[in-house]
């Protein structure tokens, strides 16, 4: 083999080894990216050569102006459709844009609740857990409760409320709303435990309000008992309340876990 051929072969071998190394490293990086949920590339429908976050910001600036214009100048349906498409494009460019999901849901909730719910679903799927809080799923629950019909209304609301209560720091009206929906869905007997657990685990300042609800639900069960067990349970709860529930040491704020235990 001549010197030139040797050099070429060794150069090609070196390039080959480096190529294999690059393939291995690429696969390792991809694995970590997928495992860590680092902006799954499948979400990005609009590739912008790495400038997606900036494109999303520009889209957001335009969207803010568009939202500010309102639909006074044109047809409401066209405005709503355009607004939704803009939110869709924005969240495709940057699926982590939490604030866009919030505003999108709120702006579309009245005129196009089904579109607002699709934004909530997308947000719940794509926003990383550490960025997501109880608000977005709560909006979903509220919109479902207001606008959905039939069995879907309660089922969807409860699904979103469970998602909201999966996050720390939610206010009392979130579990209270859940208890109210359970009451509408399953009747007073079904909701009695829900209300009573809330009462047991709430802050002292909320005791009076929740006690009133427990008493109301328990009396409704006693008025029209669905079963002997339900009647017995209502009597037990009222007995416990009268025994001195007010003086019971305050426990921790209701959390997803202790509510679901009911």
């Amino acid at each position: 083999m001549s010197g030139g051929t040797k050099e070429t072969v060794s150069g090609l071998v070196l390039a080959g080894i480096l190529f294999v190394g690059s393939v291995y490293m690429s696969n390792r990086a991809t694995k970590i990216r997928d495992a860590e949920d680092l902006l799954n590339p499948q979400l990005l429908h609009t590739p912008m050569a790495g400038f997606e976050p900036l494109a999303a910001d520009i889209q957001w600036i335009q969207l803010v102006q568009f939202m500010g214009m309102g639909y006074s100048s044109g047809k409401k349906e066209v405005y709503v459709d355009r607004l939704y498409r803009r939110f869709d494009r924005l969240t495709s460019l940057d699926p982590y844009f939490t604030i866009a999901y919030h505003y999108g849901t709120l702006f579309l909730s009245v005129e196009a609740p089904e579109k607002a719910l699709s934004i909530v679903d997308r947000g719940l799927d794509y926003i990383p857990r550490e960025e997501l809080d109880w608000k977005l799923p709560f909006y979903g629950a509220f919109i479902s409760y207001q606008y959905c019909e039939g069995d879907e209304r309660y089922a969807k609301s409860l699904k979103y409320l469970d998602a909201a209560m999966d996050h720390e720091g939610y206010p009392l009206y979130v579990p209270t709303f859940r208890a109210m929906i359970v009451e509408r869905k399953d009747g007073p007997a079904g909701a009695l435990n829900e209300w009573y657990k809330l009462y047991q685990n709430c802050d002292p300042s909320d005791k009076t309000f929740l006690r009133g609800n427990v008493e109301r639900v328990a009396s409704e069960v006693l008025k029209n008992p669905e079963s002997p067990e339900a009647k017995q349970k209502a009597e037990e709860v009222l007995k416990e309340l009268n025994k001195g529930g007010e003086e019971a040491p305050p426990k921790k704020r209701a959390t997803r876990r202790n509510v679901s235990e009911t």
């Binding site: 150069g11 690059s22 690429s26 590739p47 976050p53 910001d57 604030i99 960025e131």
Partner: protein, 257 residues
């Protein structure tokens, strides 16, 4: 003179020549102005001015690196070949590999200085605005530097057998394709056609996967990017750059000057 010394001399020559390039100064001024007026972005956005500042700075740093890599990377070797100055250089005890490597290091050096200027400007603005130094930026900037390294090597590779302008255009196309490379496995999975699957899979590994280096969205949202990811991506960049430079040197060695 050792080979390392030869490489550094060529790199220094490249760097010094680029210091006279006024376009770079303009780019630095424009990018720094964008970062500098960051505190005014709240007029335009709704509760997301900090995100806009971060994204703009990271995009500015990336854009700067891309411009330097494509235009200077394509121009440096091509210009020497066109003007014939490479003959004078290679008549000295300087290997062709060392010449290419020197051009690579010099161009990367120019990019590094530019990135550093914008990065420091951004850190100063953010520390005034948020009252803290934004350390997470480091991960994105480090990966950006290695992305620029890959892009410079690709530009140099093309200039060894293509004219400067064509090389710049082709490198830019590779840059665009590389940022979409992560979609190729999806095409491969969805294609029912065997050759399409093979070609998509092959291209996925052949085209530089710039998507690996792009963690700007995650960093912009202050999400933690594991150092292991940064490490593997750096290694990927090093392997890929090495492969492209060794191919470039193979072609350059055979080239008639």
């Amino acid at each position: 003179m050792t080979p390392v010394h030869n490489v550094l001399v060529v790199a220094q020559g490249t760097f010094v020549r680029q210091l006279r390039n006024k376009i770079l100064y303009m780019l630095i001024i424009v990018c720094t102005c964008f970062v500098g007026v960051g505190s005014m972005y709240h007029i335009l956005t709704l509760d997301s001015e900090v995100k806009l500042m971060r994204d703009l700075a990271l995009a500015g740093i990336s854009l700067m690196g891309m411009v330097v890599a494509i235009f200077i990377g394509s121009n440096e070797v091509g210009k020497e070949l066109r003007e014939g100055t490479v003959d004078a250089l290679l008549s000295k005890p300087l290997g062709r590999d060392q010449f290419l490597l020197g051009k690579f290091v010099g161009t990367l050096w120019v990019a590094l200085v530019n990135i550093a200027i914008i990065g420091v400007g951004f850190l100063v603005v953010m520390s005034f605005y948020e009252g803290k130094i934004w350390v997470d930026l480091a991960r994105s900037v480090i990966l950006n530097v290695f992305e620029v390294g890959v892009l410079v090597s690709v530009a140099i590779f093309f200039t060894t057998f293509l004219p400067e302008a064509v090389s710049a255009v082709v490198t830019f196309l590779v840059f665009l394709l590389g940022h979409g490379a992560h979609m190729l496995p999806m095409i491969s999975e969805k294609a029912d056609h065997m050759p399409t699957e093979v070609i998509a899979k092959g291209l996925y590994y052949l085209i530089p996967n710039f998507h690996h280096f792009n963690i700007r969205a995650a960093v912009g949202h202050e999400l933690e990017v594991p150092w292991s990811y940064v490490g593997f991506t750096i290694l990927y960049g090093l392997f890929y750059t090495g492969m492209v430079l060794s191919l470039a040197s193979l072609i350059f060695r055979k080239r008639e000057l």
